[in-house]
């Protein structure tokens, strides 16, 4: 049970003045239950990459296998794939359309062809999981605030219980509190259901705190792929491609350069604190 990308390339508008190579030979293996962060600056091919995962875009070259089946096979059901690989796009609140929040969340499960009872149950569960207060369920989605709309929209995908949940910049345009709440909610749900989560972002800080594996994209290629602390060891190279490691990485390197016996592998503030306390206790 996994998602395998084999040498995927994607060229937009092939053969005319707008031709652009967005992906260039990307190979990845995504195992069940992983929490992955995909990072890259604007135009590095992140969004293009994830749209291949559920077959919305077809690769110009290469193949993709979901649970061992080639999704480009003629008789492969792409609609079924899209139920299994849930996709939350950038600014997902722009897709809300129904009269009430609850009905909107029902849209996905209903398309899956579930019985009405299960649809309702799924919608309730999803709305509860994204932490939207019950008093908003029967309100028009257009009356909600930005953060609440985003939650409702994410619930619309979560309600389909996808095996793989892909989120494209789920915190774009939110304030720091809203950002933390959304990311905490995603991490909680990941722990509760053990599904695969792929989080696309350009903020290292966000990603470092939650994910077990980071994939760094640059110019349509995978530049680094590994545990956060391993990837952040390349903080100099990350800077060269317009990204930055979390601030604590810089702090730890500075401390080490100043002669303190610390390990530079801390990626979150808590880890850095423990590391420093350990060092202070040792002296």
């Amino acid at each position: 049970m996994s998602l395998i990308l084999d040498n995927i390339s994607h060229i937009y508008s092939r053969g005319d003045a707008y031709e652009k190579k967005a992906l260039d030979g990307v190979s990845l293996k995504i195992e069940d239950g992983e929490f992955i962060g995909i990072i890259g600056h604007t135009g590095s091919g992140k969004s293009t990459l994830i749209q291949h995962l559920n077959g919305l875009l077809k690769a110009t070259e290469g193949s993709i296998y979901f649970n061992g089946q080639d999704i480009y096979d003629k008789d492969y059901d792409l609609r079924d794939l899209r139920m299994q690989v849930g996709m939350v796009f950038q600014y997902p609140e722009h897709q809300l359309f129904d009269e009430t929040v609850f009905k909107d969340v029902c849209f996905g499960p209903r398309n899956q062809g579930l019985p009405e009872k299960d649809v309702t149950l799924r919608a309730y569960e999803a709305l509860k999981n994204v932490g939207l207060d019950e008093k908003y369920y029967d309100v028009s989605p257009f009356e909600l605030s930005g953060g609440q709309k985003r939650r409702a929209a994410i619930a619309g995908v979560v309600a389909m219980k996808p095996q793989v949940l892909v989120l494209d910049e789920p915190t774009a345009g939110l304030d720091p509190q809203g950002r933390d709440e959304i990311l905490d909610m995603i991490a909680e749900n990941h722990q509760r259901y053990g599904n695969t989560v792929i989080l696309v972002s350009h903020s290292m800080e966000d990603v470092a705190k939650y994910v077990d594996r980071i994939i760094v994209m640059d110019d349509g290629q995978v530049r680094f792929d590994g545990e956060p602390k391993v990837v952040f060891r390349h903080y100099k190279e990350l800077e060269e491609i317009g990204l930055a490691a979390p601030q604590v990485t810089y702090l730890m390197h500075d401390l080490k350069n100043a002669g303190y016996p610390v390990s530079c592998d801390a990626t979150t503030v808590d880890e850095a604190k423990n590391e420093i306390m350990k060092m202070l206790g040792r002296r």
Partner: protein, 267 residues
């Protein structure tokens, strides 16, 4: 997915046609339209075809781009062609069942088809080689005399340029929302007419909401920059005629005269 719509889509290239002043291009296009509606005889037709082929060659825009504009009107073309073919009375050419094709009908239908196709291709050349902004600038300048009779020329030009500007944005937006709903299992392709129409709701509602939001944002941004209409407004890139424009004017007038003269001759 929705990339087939070329009408009003600029194709960037470095060609003499691209460099022409938009007013020149508007004038030439008008001459061209007049010519395809008043020509007579095969020689004139050959002249028009040669002129169009020349301009297409000079524009450096791939021919397939111009044909793409035709796709959207294929149905109208076929419909009008059939009507002309069967409904024109005259000398009988072929007859079967209750339908009769007259000699005049066949002539009318083929003429009409050529005119429509040439019209679309010719105007596509203009829209493909002129950015929407240049186009509305050109229109505004060309229509300036109408201001005397209280026609709000600047406002019309502004509305046109905003409308044109928003076409690609809305197409992109449609594409995005469509993908988002497809990711939630929406099905836009299968089913009968009623099911298909119903399937459009999750696409149309967000699209309208976003169009209104964009319109509102734009109005606010314009107001914040003290936009107050055309009075006393200057341009960053004022339109200026070059030698190539003068040459084009002369060529197009000679061309129109030639087409008119050819009407007098039987061939």
């Amino acid at each position: 997915m929705l990339r087939e719509i070329t009408l009003g889509q600029y194709y960037p290239a470095d060609s003499p046609i691209h460099k022409l002043d938009p007013r020149t291009k508007l004038f030439t296009t008008m001459i061209y339209i007049i010519s395809i509606f008043c020509f007579k005889g095969p020689v004139a037709f050959a002249v028009i075809t040669a002129a169009l082929a020349m301009v297409i060659y000079l524009s450096k825009v791939p021919f397939s781009y111009m044909v793409r504009g035709l796709k959207t009107i294929v149905f109208i073309l076929i419909f009008a062609g059939i009507l002309n073919l069967f409904m024109t009375p005259g000398r009988e050419l072929v007859s079967f069942w209750k339908l009769t094709i007259s000699y005049e009908g066949a002539k009318n239908a083929s003429l009409m088809l050529f005119r429509m196709i040439y019209l679309i291709i010719g105007t596509s050349v203009m829209t493909l080689t002129t950015t929407p902004n240049q186009l509305t600038d050109g229109l505004e300048a060309a229509l300036k005399p109408m201001k005397k009779i209280k026609v709000p020329v600047h406002e019309i030009a502004m509305m046109m340029s905003i409308a044109l500007r928003f076409i690609p944005i809305l197409i992109e937006e449609t594409d995005k929302i469509m993908k988002a709903q497809m990711a939630r299992g929406a099905d836009f392709e299968s089913g009968g007419l009623i099911k298909k129409t119903k399937a459009m709701i999750p696409l149309l509602v967000p699209l309208f909401v976003s169009a209104f939001r964009r319109a509102n944002d734009l109005a606010l941004a314009m107001e914040a920059r003290c936009y107050s209409g055309g009075e006393g407004r200057t341009k960053m890139l004022p339109l200026k005629y070059e030698n190539r424009d003068r040459i084009t004017y002369v060529i197009s007038i000679v061309y129109l005269v030639a087409i008119c003269v050819l009407r007098r001759f039987p061939f």
